[in-house]
């Protein structure tokens, strides 16, 4: 299994390189630039800005500079600049040399938020989004999977109809309606929970529930469908004929075997949610990374676009690796080839 993981990590590097290449050239192909505004800037100002951010270099050179800033560590000695342009994620003081530091990983500045380079976005906003996302998926799994199991095990009974009814509700009512509704009911009318913010456990309840409920519907339906399929398998009939209780049959034998499609979906779901959800974060005023995905594209903020896409890609690839490992645990027949 170690071999498998190492091989997948190497693939990840290759995938990420491809992602950065494609994203970089795609984003420069879109008309408009970071300095397009309704009130046009004078030519000379735009020229100066382009020079400062190296936007007048040929695209290939810009791409290589970007990758160099991320991948290649730099040793700085002597009097060092403390400006935001030289802001790195990893700074290690070296014992040798004249005030030497090793610096590594600079994702670039933000053209729109000048005092906030992309590194700051990762340091401050990403952990919050990751928290929200992880909790959201947890809520989705805790609500969705049991609901699906119940609906599948007790097919065509009240449990099934109720469970699937709730699932259809969750899938049809988008988060952008569910979230304000929850805000009004629990925050304004009943006043039980705070309306916005993030940090205290009380503030975390509504956003994670709003996020989790929409996703739980997907998991519930998937679990139910998968369970129904497994219930017809021969080995389940064998288990029943051995005299096992229905509960044991369902919870021990059926459940584990029906988890493969569910795990397949949870992996990417976790990655997407951890990278930031725009709607929930805006409505509940959570300082996460979601808004940067949207505002960077409309504002043509190239380093932020690259940074956010890279984060999403890394999460997705990692999630897929974990899902593959979990497959082998669920179904021992799957070998790591």
């Amino acid at each position: 299994m170690q071999d498998f993981i190492i091989r997948r990590m190497l693939w990840m590097v290759f995938v990420l390189l491809a992602v950065t290449l494609i994203t970089f050239f795609l984003m420069h192909m879109v008309p408009g630039g970071p300095f397009s505004s309704e009130k046009a800037l004078p030519e000379s100002t735009i020229e100066q800005l382009n020079k400062k951010y190296h936007l007048d270099d040929p695209l290939g050179v810009q791409y290589l500079k970007y990758m160099q800033d991320i991948l290649i560590p730099v040793i700085m000695t002597g009097q060092q600049q403390k400006s935001l342009d030289h802001e790195y994620l990893i700074t290690i003081d070296l014992p040798v040399g004249d005030n030497a530091t090793l610096r590594w990983v600079n994702f670039g500045p933000s053209y729109k938020s000048i005092s906030r380079p992309v590194n700051d976005i990762f340091r401050e906003n990403l952990p919050i989004s990751a928290q929200l996302g992880a909790l959201g998926v947890l809520v989705a799994a805790v609500i969705g999977i049991p609901l699906g199991v119940l609906a599948g095990a007790k097919r065509n009974t009240a449990f099934d109809y109720a469970g699937m009814g709730i699932a259809v509700l969750g899938v049809s009512v988008p988060v952008i309606i569910m979230a304000p509704l929850l805000q009004y009911v629990f925050g304004v009318w009943l006043g039980w929970l705070p309306v916005t913010g993030w940090g205290e456990p009380k503030q975390m309840i509504l956003p994670t529930f709003a996020l989790g409920f929409s996703q739980s519907a997907v998991l519930a339906r998937l679990t139910r469908a998968s369970m129904l399929q497994v219930l017809h398998e021969d080995y389940i009939r064998t288990a029943r004929s051995k005299g096992l209780s229905e509960r044991r049959v369902v919870l021990v034998h059926v459940l584990k075997n029906s988890m493969i499609p569910v795990v397949t979906v949870i992996g990417p779901m976790l990655a997407y949610l951890m990278a930031g959800t725009f709607v929930v974060e805006t409505i509940f005023v959570i300082p996460g990374m979601g808004k940067f995905f949207v505002t960077s594209i409309t504002g043509r903020d190239y380093p932020v676009i690259m940074g956010t896409i890279l984060v999403l890609a890394i999460f997705l690839v990692l999630a897929n690796v974990v899902v593959d490992v979990v497959y082998a645990w669920i179904d021992p027949r799957i070998r790591f080839t």
Partner: protein, 298 residues
């Protein structure tokens, strides 16, 4: 404490009692006015910006002044504000909002500026067609209205499309672009009709009239030229007597908006705010609130 959040979310926090003074999203104004408690706490303040749509005078048929005037007269600005934007905005008769210093005001100049008049619109269209040597409105080249794709602008563009079809029998095409893409087209290649609002850099009509609409301004995306207008605004810029300046700017507005239809102002936006009754506050006319003068009273 100052918090930054989207307008609809501000309203929910206000209703929950967690915020004391907020800006109100225009879409919620109907509901707020209907609620007696909230209505008492609502205040509407005229803004400083101008919502206008421009004509590209370098593209046919808007190189012809009569066609421009026809289109401008055919817009029912009061209906636009009442039924489309619904925010209590003020229908604009000229370009510079009256809240800007030195701009003409509605009280002093009740007859200044442009107003909806379908008869004049149709007359001007006929004159324009005659000058261009065309028989009917169907012979006009195809006209595209270009704008950045936000909800308000999209609704406004559709309303304009309907108005022009009803009054002038001309059907324009709408082209809603991604906002940043739209902005990047403005300088070089503005559409035949394009959205060209303005918010002030400083509180003087000079900003609106000379900085933006003078023939050589880079913000004059429609490239409307008028020596007489340039002279008026140049002169007004150098004078110090406020009455003389106001008179000159009023004349300039009449020339630009009515006689030449160099731009087509639609309305002057407002700012709607809700304030809890226990807050004693000032209302800024410049957009910068003097927070240090506010207080909580019992």
């Amino acid at each position: 404490m100052i918090r930054f959040m989207d307008n609809p979310v501000q309203l929910r926090e206000y209703e929950a009692g967690n915020m004391d003074a907020i800006f109100v999203p225009i879409s919620e104004l109907d509901r707020i006015r209907a609620d007696s408690t909230l209505n008492a706490e609502l205040s509407i303040v005229p803004g400083l910006c101008s919502q206008a749509w421009g004509f590209n005078t370098q593209k046919a048929p808007f190189d012809n002044v009569h066609i421009r005037r026809a289109f401008s007269y055919a817009v029912d600005r009061q209906s636009l504000v009442d039924y489309v934007t619904k925010g209590g905005e003020i229908p604009a008769r000229w370009y510079t909002p009256p809240s800007i210093s030195m701009a003409p005001t509605l009280e002093d100049n009740p007859d200044l500026g442009i107003e909806y008049d379908p008869d004049i619109a149709q007359q001007e269209l006929a004159l324009g067609l005659e000058e261009l040597g065309l028989d009917s409105a169907d012979d006009l080249p195809s006209i595209t209205v270009v704008f950045g794709n936000t909800e308000t602008l999209s609704l406004t563009a559709q309303a304009l499309q309907v108005m022009w079809e009803e009054t002038l029998d001309v059907r324009v095409e709408l082209s809603g672009l991604d906002t940043t893409t739209y902005w990047s087209t403005l300088e070089e290649d503005a559409g035949q009709i394009f959205r060209a609002g303005w918010c002030p850099d400083y509180n003087d009509a000079n900003n609106y009239l000379r900085d933006v609409m003078r023939s050589d301004s880079i913000y004059n995306y429609g490239r409307w030229q008028s020596d007489e207008f340039d002279q008026l605004v140049d002169e007004a810029r150098l004078l110090s007597d406020p009455d003389k300046r106001r008179a000159l700017y009023a004349e300039a507005e009449q020339l630009m908006v009515v006689e030449e239809a160099g731009t087509m102002p639609l309305y002057w936006p407002i700012t709607a705010m809700l304030t809890k009754p226990y807050v004693s506050r000032t209302y800024s006319t410049t957009g910068f609130e003097a927070y240090w003068k506010w207080d909580i009273t019992e």
